[in-house]
């Protein structure tokens, strides 16, 4: 009986990796020019993603992640091409992962894409897609783009970026700088705020960061939508009491740079390193003008 159960379980696991009607394997071509799949597709799940991307797994898990399909295309004498399709459960998660890897905004593939030497990364619906070559040749560069286009055209679903992203005022916002996240450690991406989770950001907290330009250098806006007003209030008090010693709508830091903040309802906004007090306050006003 024990053997039978093991066999059944093994079959179920194997079947999970087989071609499914709408699974990510259906987004991939059977071959790409001279490149052919080298091995059976591999699937990884939250419990074993670490085995696949050592350390980096936590990034995906911090958003919410169902599975990743990994397929390697090989051609003798040419760099292999590694394709990964991450099913991030919902579009917001896929968008979030994409924003973590983006340096400049691109729209060639999916709902947003980043093209680097030897790599195309994009998101579409709940999927985050990575197409990377072992090393770069003109032929492999052409092929990774073709593959990205193929995958893009075979993903029929799409989805919206999280609402909070649209709350960032567009004026002065650096295109491609926006990062969406739900784990506190990403709050330091542009500007070092703190080591710990001083805002109480948890998986239920929608956050985004944006970088703004000014003649005196960059400044940064952090938006957080908490599930309750109490949590937002706690974040507000927690931050100012730790940093400034008292609840305050504005404080000065590093001589000529200004930080500002405001909380209203479930939303909290922070402006870091604004060039002057008026810019900081104006940004806060603009964020909450439509509330």
């Amino acid at each position: 009986m024990k053997i039978n159960l093991c066999v059944i379980f093994s079959l179920l696991v194997i079947m999970q990796g087989f071609t499914s009607e709408n699974g990510p394997d259906t987004f991939l071509p059977p071959r790409a020019g001279d490149w052919k799949p080298a091995d059976p597709d591999r699937y990884f799940y939250p419990e074993n993603l670490f085995d696949y991307i050592n350390g980096g797994a936590e990034l995906y898990l911090s958003y919410g992640f169902r599975e990743v399909l990994s397929r390697r295309y090989e051609c003798p004498g040419k760099p292999f091409i590694q394709v990964e399709i991450f099913d991030m459960i919902e579009p917001a998660n896929a968008y979030g992962i994409y924003t973590q890897t983006r340096e400049e905004e691109g729209n060639q593939y999916g709902q947003g894409s980043q093209i680097l030497p030897g790599a195309v990364l994009f998101w579409k619906g709940p999927y985050y897609v990575s197409v990377i070559s072992e090393y770069e040749t003109s032929e492999s560069e052409e092929m990774i783009r073709w593959l990205a286009g193929y995958i893009d055209s075979h993903i029929s679903v799409s989805g919206a970026a999280p609402d909070i992203v649209s709350a960032l005022p567009p004026k002065g916002l650096v295109e491609g700088s926006v990062v969406y996240f739900r784990h506190y450690i990403w709050a330091n991406r542009y500007y070092y705020i703190a080591d710990g989770n001083i805002f109480g950001i948890e998986n239920d907290t929608h956050c985004c960061l944006g970088r703004y330009t000014s003649p005196r250098g960059s400044y940064y806006v952090l938006l957080m939508d908490f599930p309750s007003g109490e949590r937002a209030e706690a974040a507000w008090r927690g931050y100012w009491e730790e940093k400034a010693g008292e609840p305050s709508p504005l404080t000065e830091q590093e001589g000529d740079r200004w930080h500002a903040g405001h909380r209203q309802g479930t939303r909290m906004a922070m402006v870091f390193r604004a060039p002057d007090r008026e810019t900081a306050m104006e940004m806060v006003r603009e964020i909450f003008s439509s509330e």
Binding site: T101, S130, K243, Q253
Partner: protein, 297 residues
């Protein structure tokens, strides 16, 4: 309203440092114990030809760099004397390397360390070179000495891949180290298989990765030919020095402050909480050897 400066680094002050300080080094040869001023020496040696045009490592040059570095570090007159101060002929040596496919420890360096160990009398069968699997490896299980060697790179969860982090493979479940962006990585250094055994730390800075992108956090675009090795007895001091170089490169590349994200807090915590070494640049004596143009530090 009162304007107050924001304290940017509220470090872990209530640490267990006093409880563990000193325990780490109890197995070291006497010659390595001299740290009466509570300062750490780190040697930065660079050679702009160590990375060839095709990206391969020049084995002869990198081992010459290592020779110069250990002589400087130990203060001994010859390379052999230096290694005799670091290792004993009756040691069983585990060389903890890092084989991450995109930026691994150069094989030439691993073999150079093995050669030096054999030169001073360590038997070949008493030397192991391994990354994954150290916990069950027969040589590593009976090792009396460890040499820790790995490249520095940014890392998606711990901020940077460091010498401190390189020992994560001595844990049964590496993912257990991941909470709070791997803050407590230094705790591994006090595991029985590791504690007190590390004789030398070598942070490979030949082509460091200063920024990550994509699922595997790698793109050649974000590496550069730095051509360096950082060598020291104190892993925290070596890592802290490496991080300064990475941060400086990010500043240069992005044209503005762009903090390593997540913050590599495990380095600071290794100092303040675990007393593994010093992360404070003011207590690190940096000795520069070789080519120093664009050293970024």
């Amino acid at each position: 309203m009162v304007a107050k400066p924001i304290s940017r680094r509220k470090l872990l002050k209530d640490s267990a440092k006093a409880a563990v300080a000193g325990a780490l080094f109890m197995n070291w040869p006497a010659g390595l114990m001299g740290n009466e001023n509570n300062r750490s020496k780190v040697v930065l040696i660079r050679n702009h030809r160590v990375v060839k045009e095709n990206g391969e490592t020049d084995g002869e040059i990198i081992n010459r760099m290592l020779d110069e570095a250990v002589v400087e570090l130990t203060g001994r007159p010859t390379v052999r004397d230096a290694w005799l101060q670091i290792l004993r002929p009756d040691d069983v040596l585990g060389i903890k390397t890092n084989v991450w496919a995109r930026l691994r420890t150069p094989v030439e360096l691993e073999q150079g360390i093995r050669r030096h160990a054999m030169d001073i009398g360590i038997r070949e069968e008493d030397i192991g070179i391994l990354d994954r699997g150290v916990i069950n490896d027969p040589v590593f299980k009976r090792a009396t000495a460890l040499i820790n060697v790995r490249p520095m790179r940014t890392h998606a969860w711990s901020g940077v891949g460091t010498l401190i982090k390189n020992y994560i493979m001595f844990t049964r479940r590496p993912s257990d180290m991941h909470p709070d962006s791997c803050a407590d990585l230094a705790s591994v250094w006090f595991y029985p298989q590791v504690k007190g055994k590390t004789r030398l730390n070598i942070l490979v800075m030949l082509t460091p990765l200063f920024h990550g992108v994509g699922p595997h956090h790698f793109n050649r675009k974000y590496t550069w030919n730095y051509g360096g090795l950082l060598v020291g007895f104190d892993p925290v001091a070596v890592d802290a020095t490496g991080v300064r170089i990475i941060q400086a490169k990010r500043r240069e590349y992005f044209g503005e402050e762009r903090p390593i994200n997540p913050p590599p807090k495990h380095i600071m915590v290794a100092d303040t909480k675990f007393g593994l070494g010093t992360a404070d640049p003011a207590r690190i004596d940096l000795v520069r050897l070789g080519y120093q143009e664009n050293a970024l530090i």
